[in-house]
Symmetry: C2
C-alpha cells in the first residue's frame, strides 16, 4: 500500500476482488447493507470540496504524482488538515502514496475511480 500505514483498505478491494458477475450494481438489484456501507465510504470521501480539489490537483498533474508540499500550498489550510484529507482519500482506496527521500508523493488509483464511475453510469442506464 503506502508508507507504513496499516493495511486496512476494505472499501473497494473487497468488492472488486469478487467474480465479475457479483459486483454490486446498485440498481440491477437492491444492494445489501454491507455493500452500501463500503460504497458510501468511498462516496463520502469524495463528498468534500477540499478532497475533490485534491483529487483534481493530483490527477491534473503531469506524471500523475504530486508531493504533499505542493498540495498544501494550494489551499488556505494547515498542513495537518491536508494530511488528514489525504488519509481519508487513501483509506477509501482512491489515492495512494509513496515516500521518496524527504517527500511523499500521492497519485490516483484509476481502478477505484473507474469502478465508481461505472457504478453510477450503470445506474443511469
Amino acid at each position: 500500500m503506502s508508507i507504513q500505514h496499516a493495511p486496512r483498505d476494505l472499501g473497494l478491494v473487497a468488492v472488486t476482488g469478487l467474480g465479475a458477475c457479483t459486483r454490486p450494481a446498485l440498481v440491477s438489484e437492491p444492494i445489501d447493507e454491507s455493500s452500501a456501507a463500503a460504497l458510501a465510504q468511498v462516496f463520502k470521501a469524495l463528498g468534500d470540496p477540499v478532497r475533490l480539489r485534491l483529487v483534481s490537483l493530483i490527477g491534473a498533474r503531469q506524471g500523475g504524482e504530486v508531493c504533499v508540499c505542493d498540495l498544501t500550498s494550494a489551499f488556505a489550510l494547515t498542513q495537518p488538515t491536508i494530511s488528514h484529507h489525504l488519509k481519508i482519500l487513501r483509506e477509501a482506496g482512491l489515492i495512494d502514496s509513496q515516500r521518496r527521500g524527504t517527500w511523499v508523493y500521492y497519485r490516483l488509483v484509476p481502478a477505484a475511480l473507474e469502478r465508481m464511475g461505472e457504478l453510477l453510469s450503470a445506474a443511469a442506464g
Copy 2:
C-alpha cells in the same frame, strides 16, 4: 527530480483539450472551489449507506418508480428519517418526486447519475 522543491506548474496543466466538452472534468485541469463545492454536494448525498440503498431500491424497481411507503418499510428507520434522506437526494438532483393522489413516487434522474459517472471514469484516465 530537481534538487530543491520548486513551485512547479500548478495551474498550467490545463487547456490541452479545448474540445467541445466544457463540463468540469475534475482532472483535465484543477477544478475551482465553486465547482468543487457543487460536485461535493452530490457525492456527499451518495456518501450515506441509507441513501445509497434508497437509490438502489428506486433504480431496481420495475418501472423506475417507488412510493415512499415502500421505501420506508425497507428500513429500520422512522418515516421522517427516510423523508429527510429523500430530500437530500432530491436537492442533489439525483432523484425527483411526483405526487399522485395520496402517494408520492420517487424516481432516479439518469442524467445526473450519468454525469457523475462520466466524471469519475474520465478522472480514471
